[in-house]
């Protein structure tokens, strides 16, 4: 069982997520409605509410999970959050923290050419914008 030791670096990370998302993530009281509403939570390594908790504590490990990349920005979470928080913005902030360091989640060259011909342009543009820097 891992032990957590919080330092000011964690606080800095928390503040960075808050700044980019524009959300007061410390007001999340972990009710879990977001996780229950998320249609993709089954595919995520950690639940959406865990993502919020880890951001609150500024735990860097959250950047290593797939949760924020699986997110499809469907807004189901923020439409139900009883504290009025926008989790979709927090997920975006975490994606941006990675993408702005030029660490992409999707390899453009990995897309099969036949598939690419089939795909509608909005799929490609959407994927590029969310998953690449």
């Amino acid at each position: 069982m891992k032990k957590i030791v919080l330092t000011r670096h964690n606080t800095d990370f928390q503040k960075e997520v808050e700044k980019i998302s524009g959300e007061k993530i410390t007001s999340c009281d972990q009710c879990g409605v977001c996780s229950g509403s998320c249609p993709l939570s089954d595919e995520m390594e950690i639940t959406p509410s865990t993502m919020m908790k880890m951001s609150q504590l500024g735990l860097f490990e959250v950047m290593e999970t797939n949760a924020m990349w699986i997110c499809a920005s469907c807004y189901s979470c923020m439409a139900r959050c009883p504290r009025g928080l926008d989790l979709s913005k927090v997920a975006e902030a975490m994606r941006q923290i990675s993408l702005r360091k030029a660490v992409d989640s999707m390899d453009l060259n990995g897309i099969d050419k036949k598939e690419a011909a089939r795909l509608p342009s909005i799929a490609l543009v959407g994927a590029f914008r969310k998953l690449t820097g």
């Binding site: 879990g32 977001c34 229950g36 939570s41 509410s49 959050c81 009883p82 009025g84």
Partner: protein, 822 residues
């Protein structure tokens, strides 16, 4: 006062709080040099016993007729020093406090020289005001022993019994046909599991037995007017069509052909058109529901009265009369207690839980009635083996506009879980019960133990707020999708029944009463108390008290305690027999009033009316002037600005007094120095300025604060005069709309500011020199920021040329009162 005044000025060291920053001796000397000041002293602690005695003696020995205490805030020790004045034999309204602590020494602790000069200005302002003070008497309103209680639930019942047993005349008005309210709709009560009906029934009987309580059931309040000691109430007593001779034998109900779901039982059982609302109803009578009775509906639609009447035919006492009609009764009341209770959240507003669509999703009140009717041979419903409770439905939810916690749901769900389990085990069945919560708030006496016992019984608590419920169309069983935040897993679990723990909201019926009495509401929609800590059952309206869930969600013990508290508060006034109000009231200069009557419509409280001027020199017969009803007048000062003859004025804040303060603020400035006048309303802005000082937060030192009861006291003409006298900026501060005690004042001030800004702009003066803001008493950084801003504007703007300044009042009058003076 005629001849020269004898004013004493005291400058307090405040034990160093003031004297460590302000040169108190210099300020005292300065004061001594002002006109009509005959005595000046500085002292270490004016509020101490010795200090107070000193002032009182000085007044007596020197026949002082005015005193300025330069020390802390008026809100801090104003009352103390008024009593000192009385002890010295001087009218307490001849004393003023100059705030050189919160507004000076504390706010400018880093700049002692500037603080000292500012202190001199503040003292000068106080002296200027006191010169124009007149002795006043508080307004006395007589209060008799009649109390109106609106709402016959447990809160209203408790208050009625306390007051009735103490010998006061109680009128208890309840809109249902029986008293008992929401408590009568409960099965058992936590944490004792007492049967609600059992403990309530006894109290209800006490009501009917108490000769001092007049019970108006099946009645509605049509209108309330008046004020403390003088309320007029119109009550509509709805026709029940059954007289008092009714024996409650029940034969009529068997004969009645109309059956419908009983709404008082949440639709769990049925009743007839003629019915008894409860077994233990008080009054214990039957009544006819005219909205479903065949005869009455027919009469209303076609005039045909020959329909049905089966109940009338079988009644052995001849108690049923279809010719009865509603009656209006008018009563007088001296005090009012509002105990209008709660409604529950309409779970249909949360469609993701399927209430109203899925038959196996219920709300807690329905389950309360199911439990009561279980095992009595009446229709019941099998909740099935697996039951789930969902907490916080309609509470703690910004998506629904209900951010507050409803306080009782954690406990009532735990109670229902206990009861369901117990009833099942008695008949040898087993139940698998889950409670889905975010927090378990079991704070009261015995509550934590109750919660623990319930867990021991095997009820499982899962920490997660369900996202949605879906239904299996064949089995009708319902599945909850939720994250268990403690195991961090997503659960999808099927249940036979899901119970929604719906939250509380202020009752819709109560909303009507609230409107009538103009009672403010808190942001959660419940009635707002006068002060959350020190006046939890008073309202801003004198003589009107609130009790029970109308004021906010609470359990029965707290409701009963609060109800008794309102009874005590009402008794406090009624035993004394009178109430004194601050004489901050509008008054008329009779020689200036030309009887135009324009002001009357503007008073938000309808305190003004036209009356005969009466005898007097130069009064033609029938001349009318304005009259102020001091009992109603709240002293907001709004009317003053509406008068083109300057005939209206406000005691304690007269035009002369306020202008004297402005002059006092500007008198001693050095060339090049700017001054900004802040007109601060007592309750919010002045208090906030105190708080800012207490927190030692510095802000622009060119601000000079003048206290007013409400910003609406500051008429457009007063602002113009301030600029004319040389002010470089004027700031109006008042409360947020929801906190103001003076209805209509904010809107008036917004208009005032608009008008004056436009006049200033028209004369080429920067309109930003005038600002208005609504403060909450916690907005410390905002206050500092805005004071600095207006100081910056004032300092950065070009001086207004003297000629233009002097011409402003006349020019303004032409714009403000285009019709001119008569």
């Amino acid at each position: 006062m005629g001849n020269s005044r004898k004013i004493g000025v005291y400058v307090c060291h405040c034990g160093g709080n003031i004297s460590e920053v302000v040169d108190v001796k210099a300020v005292s000397e300065f004061a001594g040099g002002q006109d009509e000041v005959v005595l000046n002293k500085d002292y270490s602690h004016l509020c101490s016993d010795l200090g107070q005695k000193m002032i009182a003696e000085d007044i007596r020995k020197n026949n002082l007729d005015g005193v300025v205490v330069s020390a802390c805030s008026y809100l801090f020790h104003g009352e103390t020093f008024k009593k000192v004045a009385e002890a010295g034999g001087m009218n307490p309204y001849m004393l003023e406090m100059a705030n050189i602590r919160e507004h000076c020494a504390w706010a400018h602790s880093d700049t002692p020289d500037i603080a000292t000069e500012k202190a001199k200005d503040i003292v000068n302002m106080g002296i200027g005001k006191v010169r124009r003070n007149a002795p006043l008497e508080p307004v006395k309103i007589s209060i008799d022993r009649n109390v109106l209680i609106i709402g016959g639930g447990i809160a209203g019942i408790q208050a009625a019994l306390d007051l009735g047993e103490a010998g006061f005349n109680v009128s208890l008005v309840e809109q249902k046909a029986t008293i008992g309210g929401r408590m009568a709709q409960l099965s058992r009560t936590f944490p004792t599991n007492d049967c609600a009906a059992c403990i309530l029934g006894a109290k209800m009987s006490d009501i009917s037995r108490n000769g001092n309580i007049t019970l108006y059931t099946y009645s509605e309040i049509e209108d309330i007017s008046g004020y403390i000691g003088n309320f007029s109430v119109k009550i509509r007593r709805k026709a029940t069509f059954v007289d008092d001779s009714c024996l409650s034998c029940g034969i009529c109900t068997e004969a009645c052909p109309v059956s419908l779901p009983d709404e008082y039982q949440w639709g769990v059982t049925e009743r007839k058109a003629i019915y008894q609302p409860l077994d233990y109803a008080v009054p214990n009578k039957y009544l006819i529901d005219e909205s479903v009775c065949l005869n009455i509906r027919s009469r209303k639609k076609t005039g045909n009265t020959d329909v049905c009447r089966k109940c009338e035919a079988v009644c052995p006492r001849d108690s049923i009369h279809f010719d009865r009609r509603d009656r209006i009764e008018e009563i007088k009341a001296d005090t009012i207690i509002v105990a209008t209770g709660y409604d529950v959240f309409d779970a249909k507003k949360k469609p993701e839980y399927g209430y109203g669509r899925f038959r196996n999703v219920m709300i807690a009140p329905e389950v309360e009635r199911l439990i009561v009717h279980t095992g009595e041979g009446r229709p019941t419903r099998d909740l099935g083996k697996r039951v789930a409770f969902i907490q916080c439905v309609g509470s703690r939810d910004e998506q629904l506009g209900r951010e507050y916690c409803s306080r009782v749901c954690c406990m009532y769900a735990t109670k229902l879980a206990q009861l369901i389990r117990h009833i099942a085990s008695v008949s040898g069945k087993e139940k698998d019960i889950y409670v889905f919560y975010t927090d378990m708030r079991t704070f009261g006496k015995g509550y934590e133990e109750y919660y623990k016992d319930t867990m021991k019984m095997g009820v499982k608590y899962v920490r997660g707020r369900p996202a949605e419920i879906t239904e299996n169309p064949e089995t009708r069983k319902v599945t909850i999708r939720v994250e268990d935040t403690l195991t961090r897993s997503i659960m999808e679990t099927e249940f036979d029944t899901v119970v929604l723990s719906v939250g509380l909201e202020a009752s819709a019926a109560g909303a009507r009463i609230t409107e009538m009495l103009k009672l403010p509401k808190s942001s959660d929609g419940f009635l707002q108390e006068a002060h959350p800590k020190f006046r939890p059952v008073d309202t801003q309206t004198e003589g009107v008290f609130i009790a029970g869930t109308a004021q906010g969600p609470k359990d029965i013990p707290d409701t009963v305690a609060q109800a008794s508290a309102t009874a005590a508060r009402a008794m406090r006034l009624m035993v004394k027999g009178y109430m004194e109000t601050e004489p901050v009231k509008a008054f008329v200069h009779p020689d200036l009033c030309d009887g135009c009557g324009d002001c009357v419509a503007h008073c938000p409280g309808s305190a003004l009316s036209m009356a005969d001027a009466g005898e007097g020199a130069g009064n033609p017969a029938g001349r009318q002037i304005v009259e102020v009803n001091e009992s109603i007048c709240k002293g907001c000062g709004l009317c003053i600005g509406t008068c083109h003859s300057e005939a209206l004025d406000l005691h304690l804040f007269t035009n002369e007094q306020l202008l004297a303060e402005v002059e006092g603020a500007l008198a001693n400035r050095k060339p090049g120095e700017k001054r900004v006048i802040l007109f601060a309303d007592t309750m919010c802005t002045y208090k906030l300025a105190d708080t800012v000082g207490t927190g030692k937060k510095a802000y622009a030192d060119i601000i000079r604060i003048i206290r007013v009861p409400s910003s609406s006291r500051v008429s457009p003409e007063l602002i113009i005069r301030a600029f004319a006298l040389g002010a470089d900026g004027v700031f109006l501060g008042d409360c947020e709309a929801k906190s103001t005690s003076y209805p209509g004042s904010i809107e008036y001030s917004q208009e005032t500011v608009k008008k004056v800004k436009s006049i200033l702009k028209g004369e080429g003066i920067n309109p930003e020199r005038l600002m208005f803001f609504q403060f909450a008493t916690v907005m410390i950084p905002k206050f500092v920021m805005l004071m600095n801003r207006i100081a910056g504007t004032a300092s950065g703007s070009e001086d207004i040329p003297e000629e233009l300044r002097n011409s402003l009042p006349d020019k303004a009058r032409k714009t403000l009162f285009p019709g001119g003076k008569k």
